[in-house]
């Protein structure tokens, strides 16, 4: 058996260098890698001529900071990994849906996004029994949120099982990345998950830069880091406010809702858009930070820092809040590892998973933000990890603004993409690991573009967190994950 090819984050290789194994070997290889501590960062197919589909796996090893790549051609069906490797389950369903392949032995073979319509028109897992009842919620929810369908199997208040059926937001992003006009690509990326515009744009920009051999000025790297951490601050603050709201604790809910906006407005100070639209572009950033603007940013950041500290600390001091947060929606470390959860959800289970540390890129190669973990895996842990991260992102931003490297914020010329190459680009978005895999064909055109939003890994985590919980705690558990529907649905 050939050993898999390993890359670092943002590195490229010739597309032909990725080992092409027999299907059985590929399966063995992936299982062994996962056994040996690797995690499936991406597992996807692409047409390989005729009826053949080439499966490719990106296997991440955080301790080593390497990404192993391997592939195999399959036709009609393949032996499912899922029974031996649960974290493959949604990837295999996606492959089955996209290519009509059958993953033999997959325990729960269902559509993922319903690309041919009829979302959630499918069989759900059912618990039978006299006092068992089913609750169906969505796609249109009570709040101002994205659509998704949740099917609970309940015994009284207790949830035995939750199944989540998505796909309502499917708008063909991956397909359009390849088939559509180039001018639209960056906008598809920025709106892939609109609250993670910076995170996804960074992953895309880095992939394009690597494939074209462009060098990104140091100043742009620092500005990207500032923007990415501002995005984290805004979203984490918003999540803590929303968690407070879900337990009816209004002081933090209302202050936090406002302070989230204060952070968003800092991103708007930088680039005019609260969501960072238009900031990150291949080659650098489109807006520079002049000294006056930098001074204003720091001043407003200081004010927001004071406010957020005061607002959030009220949570930990309020027994009625803590009573709702603690031991609600717990996930064990084992389940977290098996499902391959990422981001704050994984770190809240004591699993030190953070792309900024494991696969450092850009500015994070030179400046480290301490990793934040907690052990309990419950709503409290997911809230507390966010709070720790808020406190650690702020000094990072201050430091970057102070030590902003001189020079241009964007490389001069755009280079064409090199032919026949492949790049894996990981970024730690505020929800966790963002993975983009880009590949060019012999003419230097984009031939494959695979996107894995952190939500794709984590939705199953939410379903598991609900087991044995009161159904009335669903909003709280849901908020503690705050996953993206559109990022999942693409």
């Amino acid at each position: 058996m050939t050993s898999p090819l390993t890359l670092h984050n943002g590195e490229t290789c010739a597309a032909g260098e990725v080992p092409l194994l027999a299907a059985a070997e590929f399966r063995e290889e992936v299982l062994q890698a996962v056994e040996g501590g690797r995690r499936i960062a991406a597992l996807f197919g692409r047409p390989a001529g005729g009826d053949r589909v080439r499966l490719a796996a990106v296997l991440a090893n955080g301790a080593e900071g390497t990404l192993a790549l391997t592939s195999a051609d399959v036709e009609k069906s393949f032996h499912s990994l899922t029974p031996d490797c649960p974290q493959a389950h949604l990837f295999e369903r996606e492959i089955a849906e996209q290519f009509g392949l059958v993953p033999e032995g997959h325990p729960w073979m269902k559509p993922v996004r319903f690309p041919r319509g009829g979302a959630a028109v499918t069989d759900f897992f059912r618990v039978r029994g006299e006092e068992v009842h089913e609750v169906a919620v969505g796609p249109v929810h009570a709040g101002v949120i994205e659509p998704g369908h949740f099917r609970f199997q309940c015994h009284g208040e207790e949830v035995f099982h939750l199944e989540i059926s998505l796909g309502y937001q499917h708008r063909g992003v991956e397909r359009a990345m390849i088939e559509g006009r180039e001018a639209r690509r960056i906008h598809l990326i920025e709106t892939l998950a609109g609250d993670t515009s910076i995170g996804h744009a960074m992953a895309y920009a880095r992939a394009m830069e690597a494939l074209s051999g462009a060098r990104v000025p140091a100043r742009a790297q620092a500005l990207r880091g500032i923007a990415l951490e501002l995005e984290r601050l805004a979203n984490h603050t918003g999540d803590l406010a929303a968690l407070a709201n879900d337990v009816g604790y209004l002081p933090t809910a209302s202050y936090g809702g406002r302070i989230r906006g204060d952070f968003l407005n800092l991103t708007a100070l930088l680039c005019g858009s609260r969501f960072g639209r238009g900031l990150v572009r291949p080659g650098g950033v489109r807006f520079d930070l002049d000294p006056t603007r930098a001074a204003e940013l720091v001043e407003r950041l200081d004010a927001a820092t004071r406010d957020v500290g005061e607002a959030v600390n009220l949570l930990w001091e309020t027994p009625s809040v803590m009573a709702r947060f603690e031991e609600t929606g717990s996930i064990s470390r084992e389940v977290c590892e098996q499902l391959g959860l990422v981001g704050p959800a994984a770190r809240a289970c004591g699993v030190g998973r953070d792309v900024r540390h494991e696969f450092p890129y850009g500015i994070y190669r030179f400046f480290q933000i301490p990793m934040s973990t907690w052990e309990t895996g419950d709503v409290f842990a997911r809230a507390h990890v966010r709070w720790l991260e808020i406190q650690r992102s702020i000094p990072f931003i201050r430091e970057q603004v102070k030590a902003l490297p001189e020079g241009p914020a964007r490389a001069d010329a755009a280079h064409p993409l090199e032919a026949g190459r492949l790049c894996v680009s990981l970024v730690e978005g505020w929800r966790g690991e963002i993975c983009h895999v880009a590949m060019t064909d012999a003419a230097g055109r984009l031939a494959a573009y695979k996107i894995v939003d952190p939500s794709f890994h984590n939705w199953t985590g939410l379903a598991m967190a609900l087991r044995g919980q009161q159904i009335s705690d669903f909003p709280l558990c849901n908020k503690s994950f705050n996953l993206s529907y559109c990022g999942h649905d693409l």
Binding site: V140, A142, V144, P147, Q169, H187, L192, D195, L269
Partner: protein, 311 residues
């Protein structure tokens, strides 16, 4: 307890002065564009080529603009393609991309629209990304910090040289008596990116305090006076949007927020989407942007209710 009171004191009163005072917007904010075709060299189409969505046009729809026909929707064995219940109270400008729109006061029927040849920007498709500005060697296009963008008719969203944008007029007297002091909206998110949703939701925070205008988002369409739609309406959300619309008791209004809901936005002409909410509901108010700034949304809502001067 003392900490709670201290925090309350420290956090102060933070509701914006808008609409009484002008909104504080960042200097790099990209609002209403202005075009000056006098600077354009003959035949230059650089801006249109750079535009991701076909929002830049010359003398009519951009060549990138293709007519989108929604296939009929089959529901409960019925094939229906007519948007649901018409309100007898509300005079609706119907979606008439490119053609003359009803409800344009002061415009004579059959009159050829002014503006003449030259670069125009369809704000319904625009992402306010300024790629066109970067592409233009002459500086013919400029994005101002003017946040006022909402209109009542699809046609009014075309920014033409030398023309002022025809901002949204208020609902008629009868509708205003119904909704003017209390408007309950159900939000439907139909395939967008969640940024429009986020900046609609932010209106509920203490910063914008939407409740002070009597506008409220409600949990059920049965409690609502209308829908606020975001997203390009994916095929998978179309039926849900239709059902939600039909569940709102008449008379009712519909509001499209964001480029997606108006035209399909960044996903315009993807086979997976239906190019905006007008495939299912008749739109009374268009609020452009990607996403629109919360102030732009609030401005649009207040104009519709006749609570802002028509300036």
């Amino acid at each position: 307890m003392f900490d709670v009171l201290l925090a309350r004191w420290n956090q102060g009163h933070r509701t914006v002065g808008f609409p009484a005072s002008p909104p504080a917007l960042p200097d790099r904010f990209r609002g209403r564009p202005e075009v000056d075709p006098s600077k354009c060299p003959a035949g230059c189409r650089d801006c249109a080529e750079a535009c991701p969505t076909g929002a830049v046009r010359f003398d009519g729809p951009s060549p990138q603009e293709r007519p989108h026909a929604c296939p009929p929707l089959v529901w409960r064995g019925r094939t229906t393609d007519d948007p649901g219940g018409e309100s007898p109270l509300v005079v609706r400008p119907r979606h008439t991309d490119g053609g003359p729109a009803s409800g344009r006061a002061g415009e004579e029927e059959g009159e050829v629209r002014g503006g003449g040849p030259g670069v125009q920007i369809d704000l319904g498709r625009c992402l306010f990304c300024t790629d066109c500005v970067d592409a233009c060697p002459q500086g013919s296009i400029a994005y101002t910090t003017d946040h006022r963008l909402a209109t009542r008719a699809r046609e009014d969203l075309i920014a033409r040289p030398g023309e002022v944008l025809k901002l949204a007029a208020a609902l008629d007297e009868k509708a205003r008596r119904l909704f003017g002091r209390s408007l309950k909206l159900r939000q439907v998110s139909a395939g967008g990116c969640n940024a429009c949703e986020a900046d609609v939701n932010v209106l509920n925070t203490v910063v914008f305090d939407l409740g002070r205008f009597g506008i409220q988002f409600v949990a059920s369409p049965r409690h609502a006076d209308g829908l606020l739609v975001t997203g390009p309406v994916t095929d998978n959300m179309r039926l849900a949007l239709r059902k939600t619309w039909e569940a709102v008791p008449a008379p009712k209004i519909a509001i499209a927020v964001g480029a997606c809901a108006i035209s399909g936005g960044p996903y315009v002409d993807h086979p997976e989407v239906h190019n905006g909410a007008s495939c299912e509901v008749p739109i009374d108010l268009y609020i452009p942007g990607c996403p629109p700034h919360p102030v732009t949304i609030l401005d649009g809502l207040l104009r519709l209710l006749g609570r802002l001067d028509a300036k």
